[in-house]
C-alpha cells in the first residue's frame, strides 16, 4: 500500500509540474499532498449520495480522485 501511495505521489507531482519544487522543498510538497489526499477523501465521502442541482445523485464511481 505504501509503494502504491509512493508511486501515486510521484506521478501526481510530475503531472502538477512540481518536480523541481519537490527537489527543493520535499517536505512541503509531501505535506501539501497528504493534506490534499485527506481533503479529497472527505470530499469523496461527502459527494457520494449528495443531491446535485438537477436532482440526480452522485454515483460513487464519479467521485474518485484520480
Amino acid at each position: 500500500m505504501q509503494a502504491v501511495q509512493g508511486s501515486m505521489f510521484d506521478a501526481l507531482v510530475i503531472r502538477a509540474g512540481l518536480g523541481e519544487t519537490c527537489e527543493k522543498f520535499p517536505e512541503d510538497v509531501k505535506a501539501a499532498f497528504e493534506l490534499a489526499m485527506k481533503s479529497c477523501e472527505s470530499f469523496s465521502n461527502l459527494a457520494v449520495g449528495m443531491q446535485v442541482p438537477g436532482g440526480s445523485t452522485y454515483p460513487a464511481e464519479q467521485v474518485s480522485h484520480g
Binding site: 502538477a16 519544487t21 522543498f25 512541503d28 501539501a32 479529497c40 470530499f43 461527502l46 459527494a47 484520480g66
Partner: protein
Amino acid sequence: MADIHWKSAAELARAYRSSSLSPVKVVESLLERAYELNTRINAYLYIDAEHALASAHKAAKELAQGQDLGPLHGIPYGVKDIIDVKGLPMTCHSEVLKDNVAQGDAAVVSKLRSAGAIVMGKLATHEFAIGGPAFDLPFPPARNPWNTDHHPGGSSSGSGAGVAAGLFPVALGTDTGGSIRNPAGACGVMGLKPTYDKVSRQGVFPLSWSLDHVGPLARKVEDLALFMQAMADGQPIAISPDIKGLRIGFVRHYHESDMQATPQTCAALETAAQTFAGLGAKVSEVRLPRLSDMATVNRIILTSEAWTIHGPWLRRHPEKYCQASRRRLMVGAFVTAEEYQQAQMMATTLCKQVDAIFDEVDVLLLANSMHPACRFDDEQGIARNYMQHARAPFNLTGHPAMSMMCGLSEDGLPIGMQIASAKNREDLILSVALAFQNATTWSDQHPALPI
C-alpha cells in the same frame, strides 16, 4: 481632545461639521499613535503619512468651503495590502511582489476616494491572504493588541489589529474562508463580509474568485454601514436598533455538536441569544447543513482556484513564498478538475439549503471561532484557528455575515459571534448588530495599550 483614536467614523464626521475637530488634527493624531504603537502591533506595512496629511488638509479646506462630499469626507482608513491603492506598495505581504507598486486604485478604493475618505497606509495580511501567520516573510506578522503574544486572526490581520489598537476607525479586509471575520473576532472589533459580488473585487489580488469578498472592519456598527454604502452601490443602508418581532435563528449545533466551542464561547453565545430575546426578537433554534460539509466543499474550491493563480509562480520560485503558503497553495495541485466541478455544484445545492432557512428566520446567530486567539508559539492553536470555526459556510453560499464581540475569555481575549442574513439584507444584520451594540458594552471595550 482626548481619545481621538477611539472615535468612530460617524463621530468624526459629526465633529468635523461642528468644527470641534478637523481632519488634519485627526490624521496627525492617528499618525502619532501609529509611530508609537506599530513596532509592537505591526498592523501597518506602510504608513502613507505624506498623502494622508495632504488629503486631510484638502478635506479640511473643502469642508470649510462647504464642499461636503458626505459622511466619509476626511475619514481615515487602512487598506489590506492585497488591495491596490495608486502609487502605494502592493506587496501581498510577500517577497514575490516586494517591489510592486499599484498603478491604479482598486474599484473599492476609488469609490471611497470619491466619497472623500483618506487612505492612511497598507496593512499586514497573511502572504497572499493564505500563508500565515509566518515569520519567514519580508515583513513581520501583525500582533493582537489585546495580548501581543497572541495571533490577531487572519488573513486581514493588520486590519483587525489596527482597528482594535485605535490606529484608524475603519479598515478594508478581504474574506475567502473567513478572513475578515476571523481577525474581527480575535481582535474584538466588527467585520462585515457582504453578499458575494456586492463590492467589486477589481484591483484586489485574488485568492479564490468564487469565494473572495471585500468588506469593512470597524469598532462601531454605524461605521460599517457608512463604509458599506460607499463601497457598494451608494444606496443608503437603513438600520434600526428596534428588532421587536425579528426572527433570529440560533445555530447551536455548529458550536455544540458539529464542533465544540470553549465553555466561555458557548456561554457568551447563549447570553447574546438571551439579550436578543430581551430586546423583543423571536429567537428559535435552527439547523444548517453540516459545518464539516460546508468546510470541505469550500476547501476544494479555494485550493483549486488558488493553485490556478499561484501555480505558475510557485513552480518557478517556490523559495519566494513562505513555508505556510507553499504547503497551503500546493494542495490545489492535487485536486482534480472533476472534484472542483463537483464542489461547485455542491455549493449551489448548499446555497439553496441555506436560502431556504431564510424563509423561516430573518437572521442567523452563530459562533465565529470556537476558541479565543491562541499564542503565536502554539502551533496546534494556530492550526485550530483555521479549522475550528463557523465562517466558511457563507463564503461558499455568498450570504452576508458579520462578526462582533460578545464576550471576553478568562485570559482577557475577545470572543466573537456571527450574524448572517439572506443575500443583500446587510441592513438586517447591521440592525441586529446595532441593537446588540446599544444593549451591551462590548464595543466600548478596548485593549490596554501603552501610549
